[in-house]
């Protein structure tokens, strides 16, 4: 699969202070690539450098070091921007315009003819669930969620080969989130790759083929979501529930278990290795208990995210 986005050692310093200017590194030597036809999740906590990266790719900021290319073109190429889309975090638009006027304006910037602009406006506004009666309302009267929908729709007006979405679910209610998630999920099948930054890990887990986790401006982990989770689950842990055994007695007889917890009549024991299971079961039987269940504990993206961002 070809790389649609390539980032090489990208860094960005911000200058702070008025008199004695101090440099703060917001992004530090980021290298990553995104393949065509996939949904790429760009994860990280607040201030990790996600928005800075997207702004660098959108040529809103100039890098201090490094380079990047989209569709094989350098990021400062104006022509390349004809084939990409972008929805900023908390999108801001001209509030005196209506969605129809906004789409007409943006369509003109992409050189779309009048009939195509009109057709795309109706198609996209319908797709993001904006009711027709709102199409001719000024954007200043829109709620945050409605603006988010307009933002997402406008990013697709040129049928881009890749769309950059900065926190696309921000401001949406649960139904809106589900609708937008479904819309994003179908983009790769229509030839649009997605580069999406998000805080909402369940969305990333449900949508993304590959992820990169950014922590304090540095890349903490990157790869296929499935591989990253499998890697972190190399040594699976197990949750064992026994009935009729006292937790205090088990703590003495099972020194290898990380957690032993009394839970309303039952006792929960966590085994760190599968080889520990037999010893735990024997100890439970010796304490007069009986087995209720054994389940492997699979690490979620949230666990991986917390582990990666904490280690820095």
């Amino acid at each position: 699969m070809e790389h649609i986005v390539s980032v090489e050692n990208l860094s960005k310093d911000y200058e702070t202070g008025f008199w004695k200017k101090k440099k703060v590194r917001a992004l530090d030597g980021l290298s990553l690539s995104v393949s065509e036809g996939q949904i790429f999740g760009f994860l990280g906590g607040n201030g990790a450098g996600k928005t800075t990266t997207i702004k660098l790719l959108m040529r809103l900021l100039y890098p201090t070091e490094g380079s990047a290319s989209i569709l094989g073109q350098p990021i400062d190429s104006v022509s390349m921007h004809r084939q990409i889309g972008y929805c900023p975090e908390n999108p801001y638009f001209y509030d005196y315009l209506t969605p129809v006027e906004l789409f007409d304006y943006f369509g003109r910037l992409f050189d779309l003819d009048a009939s195509k602009r009109k057709a795309k406006t109706g198609e996209l506004l319908t797709k993001v669930g904006l009711e027709e009666r709102d199409w001719k309302k000024q954007l200043r009267k829109f709620s945050k969620g409605m603006l988010q929908r307009v933002g997402l729709a406008q990013s697709l007006i040129n049928e881009p080969r890749i769309v950059f979405l900065d926190e696309p679910m921000s401001g949406l209610d649960p139904i809106g989130r589900r609708e937008i998630r479904e819309l994003i999920a179908e983009l790769p099948s229509k030839g649009t790759a997605v580069f999406m930054s998000t805080h909402i890990l369940s969305d990333a887990e449900a949508l993304c083929d590959e992820v990169a986790i950014l922590s304090r401006g540095k890349l903490a982990a990157a790869g296929k979501l499935h591989d990253l989770l499998a890697e972190s689950n190399d040594q699976p842990r197990f949750e064992i529930v026994v009935a009729g055994a006292d937790a205090a007695k088990l703590r003495i007889s099972i020194p290898n278990a990380t957690e032993i917890e009394q839970r309303s009549g039952d006792t929960l024991v966590i085994a760190n290795r599968d080889s520990d299971i037999e010893g735990i079961l024997r100890a439970a039987r010796d304490a007069g208990g009986s087995l209720i269940s054994i389940n492997p504990i699979r690490r979620s993206l949230e666990d991986l995210f917390v582990a990666q961002t904490k280690t820095d």
Binding site: L71, Q73, Y86, Y94, E101, Y105
Partner: protein, 266 residues
């Protein structure tokens, strides 16, 4: 993957940005208020004319054209300094620059949009003055003032370009102040040259000469008093003023584009 991508038609993008800038200005109620206000001033001029013994027409032209210049200058300065800074502050530039729009195209489009606004504004105000003159039975003056109005518009273009140039690197308030200074000095520039030639200090004289050459000579566009006396500028004067204004705007916008192209939008 690396197939050459077409950059599209930059003129169409500039026109789209200009059109949107014009629409924004028109939807801004301040502009409507100014037009109404100037029409009120013209009405006052008519009343004043009645007090000035047969000088109605001249009074109307004097008050009308000066008001037209002042209001046009206010619009050029206050809307001009906000043209780019407002887009940055409201973060609407994020959407624009992610699209195939060069920063030069953006600045040029914003400039042309405000010029179109000023053209419409100047035309409406000029029409108001002409109608007032027709009202006082001076139809010939109602027509002969238009070359002077044309010159005012080209002066306003320079003021707009100055405002945009300053706003590309400083705050709106400071840009407005600096543009206002340029407007004042620009109208006094011939006096500056006279002053420079009369000074004994070589350094002071050189400084004033430099200021004279760097700042626009806005006196070139001043034909308001003459217009009140039914004089009409020559074609060569009009042609020179148009060329001077165009050249000055191109230089100022080039500076603005160079500075704006280096900006980071945090």
């Amino acid at each position: 993957m690396t197939e050459p991508l077409s950059a599209g038609n930059p003129f169409k993008r500039v026109l789209a940005i200009a059109g949107n800038t014009f629409r924004e200005a028109i939807r801004d109620r301040v502009l409507y208020n100014l037009v109404v206000f100037v029409l009120l001033i013209v009405a006052c001029a008519i009343l004043l004319g009645e007090l000035t013994n047969g000088q109605e027409a001249r009074t109307i032209v004097n008050i009308g054209l000066n008001a037209l210049l002042i209001f046009g200058t206010f619009i050029a300065i206050f809307v001009g300094v906000g043209l780019v800074s407002k887009e940055i502050e409201k973060r609407t530039v994020f959407n624009i620059f992610s699209k195939p729009v060069g920063r030069g195209e953006f600045v040029t489009g914003k400039f042309l949009g405000l010029c179109l606004t000023l053209l419409v504004n100047t035309f409406v105000m000029g029409l108001g003055v002409s109608l007032a003159l027709i009202y006082v039975n001076n139809s010939s003056l109602a027509l002969s003032i238009w070359p002077a109005i044309f010159l005012i518009f080209f002066e306003l273009m320079i003021t707009t370009a100055v405002a945009i140039m300053f706003s590309s690197f400083s705050t709106p308030a400071l840009s407005a102040l600096l543009t206002f200074f340029v407007f004042i000095i620009g109208h006094l520039s011939s006096s500056l040259r006279d002053l420079a030639s009369g000074l004994s200090s070589r350094m002071a004289s050189l400084f004033l000469e430099t200021v004279y050459f760097l700042l626009p000579n806005l006196a070139l566009f001043s034909f308001r008093t003459e217009a009140a006396n039914e004089l009409v500028p020559t074609a060569s004067m009009l042609g020179y003023a148009v060329l001077y204004s165009t050249f000055y705007c191109v230089v100022l916008l080039t500076i603005a584009i160079i500075i704006f192209s280096r900006r980071n939008f945090k």
